[in-house]
């Protein structure tokens, strides 16, 4: 039977699941397709909780919000957001050592040579300042300062980007309200309350045709987006898409999470620093994410090395203030679906794969999937080539982030527990092994064009965790040693002074959350290292 052209058009998109992934997808599709006769439905049940991962974000979220036309100050107010300039990793390379992976590069290039080569040469000659002291966002983070970056590429204050710490459940509510507001003029979007009880499929093609809810409603669609989280209601339970397991390289498989009060500030620590904390412990690591009103806490661990009781006790001991809810235990498996898009179903978020939130990539991976889908989705229902490309690109995103995360565990000198001995001596993917060896032997970072973490990030983590090459670019030898030392000192001091003059982080957050705030936030970019790059 030949179907008419009209029947081939995509008319109804159904999103199953209403957590962060579901509402980000709904908001984006409502905005992107606002002029088209396409209906968007979201099915969720208030009886099903959400994981609410991804309280710490990366700068790309600003791009997402900007595309939706969201007012950044309203977003901050709604999500109780604070600013984020990077992540502090403590006890990863060695116990007692810490470094910040900033949203910015280190220093400036000289004669086309990256700054870190000059630092490497100085370090081998006895220079003591760590590399992070040549990053403005690191100084800002340590001093708890924040200001928007400026546009002038020659200015120090242009050398960083920023992201947010947010209350993810509030972000989902904010986006729900966004969809509803957008929908007031056009009846494009519908939210359905209910649990999916049955999935109907075309017996010939295997495509999903409708989801039946426990309240007897049935919602038909042309495209189904699985945002049902770890359960993978459609992609796994219905379509049985294979899951590629990466637990060999990323052995943590459990977490306990709890919000708490922020505690009291001391002379040496601020309760709301503009950075996320990732503190390694004997069998995994702990996160601390400062929001305006509370601290987000979690402890990630490997069940092969630690019990849930031990993890809960350890987290409780380390909370900065009184817990504000019950401890929430999470079980996960690290890896990704072989195909995120199968038949007419696209998995977005945790149903598509899971990478622990060590580098705050959960929300980014949702965003990347949404953007790729919006770019690729064709006008009609035949999409073999588009599906293959989507799957290939998403696999690449996951694989490259995977390597970067493994680096954190593997580039360690820790041998104090069985867990760390395992991480230190485990075999790593060839792609990572090659990158590590190349950096150590020639101080060169093997780059790629398509991937989230580029050279400055690799340098930050490798050097931060003690991988210091014994060689550097020969051009770094051009300057006499004493001149190099004093030049570096001046440069670092200049950065420190520039950071010290900036306004206080919490004060800036408070100002930006006032409804009459006149400050204008800078444009966004799809870069970790600068707003205008």
């Amino acid at each position: 039977m030949i179907e008419s052209a009209q029947s081939q058009e995509i008319r109804q998109i159904v999103i199953v699941g209403g957590g962060t992934a579901g509402w980000m997808t709904a908001a984006a599709l409502c905005k992107v397709y606002e002029n088209l006769p396409i209906k968007i439905a979201l099915v969720e049940s208030e009886q099903i909780g959400t994981v609410g991962v991804g309280e710490a974000t990366i700068p790309h979220l600003r791009y997402f919000n900007e595309r939706l036309g969201i007012n950044e100050h309203e977003f901050m107010q709604a999500t109780h957001a604070t600013y984020k300039l990077g992540i502090e990793f403590s006890n990863w390379g060695q116990i007692g050592q810490s470094y910040i992976h900033p949203f910015g590069d280190f220093g400036f290039k000289t004669d086309g040579v990256d700054f870190y080569h000059f630092w490497l040469r100085a370090k081998h000659a006895g220079y003591e300042r760590p590399l992070e002291e040549f990053s403005l966002p690191v100084h800002m983070a340590r001093l708890s300062r924040f200001s928007y970056p400026v546009r002038d590429a020659r200015a120090l204050l242009s050398t960083y980007s920023y992201a947010f710490h947010i209350d993810a459940s509030r972000y989902a509510k904010f986006l729900r309200s966004y969809c509803e507001t957008l929908n007031m003029s056009r009846a494009q979007f519908t939210r359905f309350e209910g649990k999916v009880q049955q999935v109907e499929r075309n017996p010939g093609s295997g495509d999903i045709t409708a989801v039946a809810l426990d309240n007897c409603m049935s919602i038909a669609g042309d495209i189904f987006i699985d945002c049902s989280g770890f359960r993978g209601l459609l992609i796994d339970q219905q379509l049985g898409e294979k899951f590629e397991d990466w637990s060999h390289w990323l052995p943590c498989d459990r977490a306990v999470a709890v919000p708490s009060e922020k505690g009291l500030a001391t002379s040496s620590s601020n309760t709301t620093p503009p950075y996320t904390k990732a503190i390694a412990h004997g069998c995994g690591w702990q996160w601390q994410i400062p929001l305006q009103h509370r601290m987000g806490n979690g402890l990630v661990y490997s069940s092969a090395f630690m019990s849930q009781d031990q993890a809960t006790t350890l987290l409780a001991e380390r909370l900065p203030g009184r817990p504000l809810a019950d401890f929430n235990a999470l079980t996960f498996r690290t890896g990704r679906r072989e195909h995120s898009w199968s038949h007419n179903c696209i998995a977005i978020g945790l149903s598509s794969g899971f990478l622990e939130p060590l580098e705050s990539t959960s929300i980014y991976l949702i965003q990347a999937a949404i953007m790729k889908l919006a770019d690729l989705l064709p006008q009609t229902k035949s999409y073999v080539a588009e599906r293959e490309e989507f799957n290939r690109e998403m696999a690449l995103e996951y694989d490259r982030i995977k390597d970067f995360l493994i680096l954190h565990y593997n580039a360690t000198e820790r041998e104090d527990t069985e867990f760390w001995r395992y991480c230190k001596y485990m075999s790593v993917p060839d792609s990572l092994a090659m990158r590590k060896e190349t950096f150590l032997s020639s101080a060169h970072v093997l780059g790629y064009k398509h991937g989230l973490f580029l050279d400055p990030s690799w340098v930050a983590v490798m050097v931060g965790q003690g991988m210091v090459p014994k060689t550097w670019h020969h051009k770094a030898n051009d300057m006499p040693e004493s001149e190099l030392f004093s030049h570096l000192d001046r440069f670092s001091e200049e950065m420190l002074n520039a950071a010290a003059k900036l306004p206080d982080h919490l004060g800036t957050v408070a100002r930006h959350c006032q409804s009459d705030c006149q400050d204008i936030w800078p444009q966004s970019s799809l870069s970790l290292y600068g707003v205008f790059s």
Partner: protein, 439 residues
């Protein structure tokens, strides 16, 4: 580090611009390190009038060599190169392949998606009317050049000689091998030379083949071709900014305008069209760095360089090699990295050559598309989707130009391309056309 060894002596053997560029690159880059550099000039014939054309994007190397673009251009009497026109039987008008971008992304819709819809409204619309040129020639920004290969080689040789590099002439070379790779090279005068690292820039991979067999590129991907020695000065022509790539049945013809003259080079393929020239089977070296030998550029593959990416492979490899050697040591991981990445570069080149030959061959179905090209074409034909690849030689705009030149069009648009109204689209395209015309 795994077995890092200090570099004390490097021996480069090859011919023409590949040899001199490699030598100068190493000289500039390894200064300050105690590395001795020897060069053997094999004197393989390089056509007198080969015109080099470079896209701006292929122009990072002179920068890395601290050869100032403007000074270099003046020395070479270089002319600006803005792109090449592809005359393809499948397209009704020449398509410009350049560093420029086709149109702009508007209303968050990529230009080609807008163009696809616009062409339904205005069937006579031409892609070139919307090409936004790259850079601004003369302003010192990134731009492409064209010049004679011979002049580039002479320029580089002067630079090298000024730093006391001796080019040892030797039309033949005996390669003495041992368990660790190459032990020494013996020149035609009987001089025996040894080094820690041998860099092979010859067209026949003379050193590398002594320790590693080359592999054939399956003829279903790239037909055996003949490089006919018909490089000729066609005669005085009006110089313009372009060189040309003509595609006739079973023939690729490159025409380059330079210094008021036009030069032409032809490649042919197909069993019956040998015309006395030996057919060459395309080959490649799988491990570009094996033991103590590195193969560069033409020593890695003899794939025809059919677009202005002539020196793509050599340039890319050199940039990587310089980075790897910047510490003055060689390490086993270096050979791993350079070999793996060179392989990716060759596959990227193969995609371009395969694509052009496949669509040129027309009904000759002995050629098939590479896997990447199949996916690339299927995606574009389906809805204008962009194929993401790490190793692509061409930019998105350049692939688009090739698609159009080869008569490949998209069957439908992406869903997002429907989000602009016909009236808005028409206004936008007219504005863009007028802006481009003014520029």
């Amino acid at each position: 580090m795994s077995g890092a060894k200090p570099l004390r002596r490097i021996l480069v053997a090859g011919s023409g611009h590949a040899l001199t560029l490699t030598v100068v690159s190493l000289l500039r880059h390894l200064q300050g390190l105690q590395v001795q550099l020897l060069a053997i000039d094999l004197g393989e014939s390089e056509a007198e009038h080969t015109v080099v054309s470079t896209f701006a994007s292929f122009h990072q190397l002179p920068e890395a060599l601290e050869l100032p673009g403007a000074k270099l251009a003046a020395s070479l009497k270089a002319e600006p190169f803005a792109g090449c026109l592809i005359n393809h039987p499948a397209s009704d008008a020449p398509i410009c392949l350049s560093d420029g971008e086709f149109g702009v992304t508007a209303a968050r819709i990529p230009f080609h998606q807008l163009f696809h819809r616009y062409r339904h409204m205005e069937p006579t619309a031409q892609l070139d009317d919307f090409t936004v040129p790259s850079g601004n020639p003369g302003a010192g920004g990134a731009q492409g050049y064209k010049f004679l290969a011979r002049d580039f080689q002479r320029y580089l040789k002067q630079v090298a000689r000024a730093q006391d590099v001796l080019f040892i002439p030797s039309s033949s070379l005996q390669v003495i091998t041992g368990a660790q790779g190459v032990e020494s090279l013996v020149t035609e005068s009987g001089q025996s030379l040894s080094a820690d690292l041998y860099i092979d820039c010859s067209r026949s991979a003379i050193i590398m083949r002594a320790i590693q067999q080359s592999e054939q590129i399956a003829k279903e991907f790239v037909a055996p071709f003949a490089r006919l020695d018909t490089l000729e000065q066609v005669g005085p022509q009006t110089t313009d900014r372009y060189s040309y790539l003509d595609l006739q049945p079973e023939q690729l013809s490159f025409r380059a305008n330079y210094a008021d003259c036009q030069y032409r080079l032809q490649l042919r393929w197909g069993g019956s069209v040998a015309e006395g020239a030996a057919l060459t089977a395309p080959w490649f070296i799988r491990q570009a760095w094996q033991n103590n030998v590195v193969a560069m550029g033409a020593a890695v593959t003899n794939l025809p360089m059919i677009l202005p990416g002539d020196y793509y492979l050599l340039h890319k490899q050199l940039l990587l090699l310089l980075n790897l050697l910047s510490g003055g040591v060689v390490d086993s991981v270096h050979s791993w990295v350079l070999s793996q990445q060179s392989q990716q570069m060759v596959m990227g080149l193969k995609d371009v050559v395969n694509f052009v030959m496949y669509y040129q061959a027309g009904n000759d179905n002995s050629l098939v598309l590479t896997e990447a090209n199949r996916a690339r074409v299927a995606l574009f034909q389906s809805s204008g989707g962009k194929f993401v690849a790490e190793n692509t030689v061409l930019s998105d705009s350049q692939w688009l130009a090739l698609f159009y030149a080869c008569g490949i069009s998209q069957e439908r648009g992406s869903l997002v391309s429907n989000t602009i109204s016909d009236a808005d689209l028409r206004t936008l395209m007219l504005q863009l056309k007028s802006t481009v015309k003014r520029a």
